[in-house]
């Protein structure tokens, strides 16, 4: 089915809200999913999978900070999904970098769907931050990642690894232009900023083709945020209680 980016974002938002995601967390996930779908990355399936797994579970947003070792800051995602943790994790990374006033390295263990962090990171590039995310997929054969900085966003490494559904160890390098940015990408560019922009333009011009079963599954999740029509609500809506044939 051909759908628009607005429709994708709205239904992702409803699906997140319907799954019990906290306000704000739902917005981050919906925006991230839309960013990727608009660039031809099929992230709706992992989003729906995460919603199925963490439906109304307040532990979905749990994150544990561990002590820093060797200048590297550690967090344990406890097997949670980037769908729920993206904003929180980027918050922690930026707070650490701001506190130390220098580029920092952060390791996040046991995180699934790390890709969802990237659009959140992208928002901070506007304010001078550079972030590079990289991870190695479950079978260790497909290193993947993403980088955003002054030169725009790009996807790194092996595209197969970007959507691996197994928990990964995520490495984040973060710096601000005021205190130097981390070293350049350690992985080759898989999808350049230009290609990402081209894909986005194509999505706006043609819409996005989403598999029917995926779209249906997303809407089923989203319906949980809606309220069935009632006689009372109908009686109070626009056009109610008036003749339209006058």
């Amino acid at each position: 089915m051909i759908v628009t980016l607005n429709e994708i974002e709205q239904w992702c938002l409803r699906a997140m809200a319907g799954s019990g995601a906290p306000p704000g967390v739902d917005e981050d996930a919906a925006a991230a999913a839309t960013w990727f779908v608009a660039r031809d990355f099929p992230v709706l399936a992992p989003l729906i999978s995460a919603l199925d797994r963490w439906q109304n579970d307040p532990r979905a947003t749990e994150l544990r900070a561990r002590s820093a070792q060797g200048g590297v800051h550690h967090f344990d995602a406890l097997g949670r999904s980037g769908v729920y943790l993206a904003g929180n994790l980027i918050d922690q990374v930026l707070a650490v970098a701001a506190r130390f006033g220098e580029p920092v390295a952060v390791e996040v263990e046991r995180l699934t769907d790390p890709l969802f962090l990237f659009p959140i990171a992208l928002g901070y590039a506007r304010r001078g931050w550079t972030l590079e995310l990289s991870w190695r997929a479950g079978d260790a054969s497909a290193a993947a990642g993403a980088r955003v900085g002054a030169d725009g966003p790009s996807m790194l490494g092996d595209e197969r690894g970007l959507l691996d559904s197994n928990p990964v160890s995520l490495s984040i390098l973060c710096g601000h232009k005021s205190h130097g940015v981390p070293a350049g990408p350690s992985l080759p560019v898989a999808v350049s900023a230009d290609e990402l922009a081209r894909r986005y333009t194509a999505a706006l011009e043609r819409g996005v083709d989403v598999a029917d079963e995926t779209w249906t599954a997303l809407k089923v999740q989203g319906m949980r945020a809606l309220v069935p029509a009632s006689a009372q609500s109908r009686a109070r809506g626009a056009g109610a209680e008036i003749s339209d044939n006058e």
Binding site: E7, G18, P22, D91, G207, A225, V227, A229, G237
Partner: protein, 581 residues
């Protein structure tokens, strides 16, 4: 009223009215359109850029069933209104959003109207929400006839005469739209794509164009059906009759959450409006002709009030207050006419008088009127009425700094005791039925557990309590730590931070409270569009009129084409009164 010095985004320093005085439903729900309203600025643009309208096709049968195509040629390319006429039994005609059939359906598209395009649109547009559009379509809409007026107009034209002005003005439109969709809904062009076309750069301009073209279609349709009835005697609808006819609209709560969900855009709209008022307030001298022009407009507005009727008791009471107070104000202006041009800051004197003597709705009427003679001073503010809407969360901000933002900008939210039943009387939700936002009464209607978080005051108070009650809240610690422990406040923190420099972004009332009158939200937004003759049918929906008094497309190049604020049709033309043309 104490003015607050606010530096605008472009560095202009002006004394704007304080947000605490403006951003309440009582005042927002008293707004009138201004020359910055989207309908006005769109028609000025059409005239300035010499857009051309051509009716390329009009293939409707004797019952008005078929399709018509209108081409609008602009310097940036062509747009097309494709209109489908349908046969509708009286029992099928309803303005409710749950309707499935309409008298006419429309798409505004950039696709050349080839037979393939028409066939594609024919398959989707008449179904409206149940159909699909493509990214080539900017707007999807539908309209129903105002049956009695439409039939009267058709019969009069067929008999070789014009419809009765009193009846045209009483209703104000031949058709009323019941939805005007844009921005990616039902397969339509996403806003980024619409803007990327170069044809529009601000929200709702495509929708406003579609409605204006629908108005032209209604004129053609009624003439066509008159000719069907009496081909030898039918006369065309005169310019004067056309001018009296706008497009009606039935608007419900669908647009209310928009004001909460797009706070930066609302800030830009209100800032532009308040900046315009402040600029005129700051004008040091007025030419006698400007004062005379204002006085004439005031007389016209008084007559406009006489033609504004509604069965809604609350609005009618307010209209009666306006009718009672405005003549005295006009007398005062007339008495001052000789000395105002020589007075320092003459417009300030007028506004101060209005603030002292008039109701809130009267004050806002004067605010709209003083802008009219000042196009050269205020019209460039049109360009500031779009916004980058993303709200950035700053996880590095300290808890103390966040607390200060809450206290400085949301004091209005902290005074309410949301534990009181009255304070959470309503809840907002989205209905399964065509995804319409609705307002329910908590405890009486189902769905409160799925409410939309539109009670910003309650959310901010909850944030404030969480910040205050956090035992280890070091004021210097970053917000990131707080949000790790309290992820449920993420949206509110982002909003408080992201709106810190946007003073007119928040409606400073509890939108869950029992005293909330939702129709005030609608009037605020509809006045920004340029709608007039608000006719509330309940506290949750209203009928309005759009483009009544506006020149038809062929007359947009005339010298007085922009002079259609507060249109008057039935009273004798007085001083400064333009004749409908």
């Amino acid at each position: 009223m104490t003015a607050t010095s606010i530096e605008c985004a472009d560095g202009e320093a002006l004394d704007l009215r304080p947000p605490d005085d403006i951003m309440h439903l009582e005042r927002l729900g008293s707004f009138f359109p201004t020359r910055l309203s989207f309908m006005r600025s769109l028609l000025r643009r059409i005239a300035r850029e010499r857009w051309a309208l051509t009716r390329e096709r009009f293939e409707l049968d004797d019952k008005g069933v078929g399709h018509a195509v209108y081409r609008v040629a602009t310097p940036k390319g062509s747009l097309f209104l494709v209109a489908f006429g349908h046969e509708l039994a009286p029992e099928e005609r309803t303005d409710r959003v749950i309707a499935e059939k309409w008298d006419a359906t429309f798409a505004l598209t950039i696709a050349e109207p080839t037979p393939e395009t028409i066939a594609r649109l024919q398959a989707g547009v008449p179904k409206q929400e149940a159909g699909r559009c493509s990214p080539s379509e900017f707007v999807l809409s539908r309209a129903n006839k105002s049956v009695r007026l439409f039939d009267h107009a058709r019969d009069c034209l067929a008999a070789g005469k014009q419809p009765e002005p009193e009846r045209l003005v009483e209703v104000g439109y031949l058709m009323r739209t019941t939805a005007v969709y844009g921005n990616g809904k039902y397969g339509l062009s996403d806003l980024a794509h619409t803007f990327g076309s170069g044809l529009f750069s601000r929200p709702f301009k495509a929708e406003m164009l579609a409605v204006y073209l629908i108005r032209e279609f209604t004129f053609d349709l009624v003439e066509h059906l008159a000719r069907v009835r009496a081909p030898n005697t039918t006369v065309p609808l005169s310019d004067a009759s056309r001018c009296m006819l706008g497009i009606g609209n039935a608007t419900g709560l669908g647009m209310a959450p928009f004001l909460i969900g797009h706070p930066r855009l609302i800030d830009r709209w209100i800032t532009a409006r308040e900046t315009a008022i402040a600029r005129v307030r700051g004008v040091t001298r007025a030419a006698p002709a400007q004062i005379a022009r204002f006085r004439a407009l005031l007389v016209r507005a008084i007559r406009h009030l006489e033609e504004w009727q509604t069965a809604d008791r609350r609005q009618m009471e307010r209209i009666l207050v306006l009718r009672a107070e405005m003549p005295g104000f006009a007398d005062w202006v007339a008495g001052q006419e000789g000395c105002l041009p020589d007075a320092p800051h003459p417009w300030r004197a007028i506004l101060d008088r209005a603030a002292e003597r008039l109701s809130i709705e009267g004050q806002e009427l004067i605010n709209s009127l003083i802008l009219e003679p000042h196009g050269d001073v205020v019209d460039n503010l049109e360009d500031t009425m779009a916004a980058e809407e993303d709200l950035d969360l700053d996880p590095t901000m300290s808890i103390g700094a966040l607390m200060r933002l809450v206290k400085d900008n949301y004091a209005w939210a902290l005074d309410t005791d949301y534990a009181e039943e009255e304070a959470q009387h309503f809840f907002w939700y989205v209905s399964e039925e065509k995804l319409e936002p609705r307002l329910g009464v908590r405890g009486e209607e189902p769905g409160a557990e799925r409410e939309l978080r539109l009670g910003i005051g309650r959310e901010v108070k909850r944030l404030h309590e969480a910040l205050t009650e956090t035992p280890d809240a070091d004021p210097e610690s970053p917000v990131a730590g707080f949000l790790m422990r309290h992820p449920g406040h993420r949206r509110t923190v982002r909003r408080v931070q992201g709106l810190a420099r946007h003073p007119y972004a928040e409606i400073r009332d509890n939108l869950l409270g029992a005293d909330t009158i939702a129709v005030d939200l609608l009037r605020c937004k509809l006045s920004m569009f340029g709608a007039i003759k608000f006719d509330p049918k309940s506290d949750r929906w209203t009928r309005i009129t759009m483009y009544q008094g506006a020149p038809c497309f062929a007359k947009l190049g005339s010298e007085d084409a922009d002079d259609w604020a507060f249109p008057v049709f039935l009273h004798h033309a007085g001083e400064g009164q333009r004749s409908p043309a």
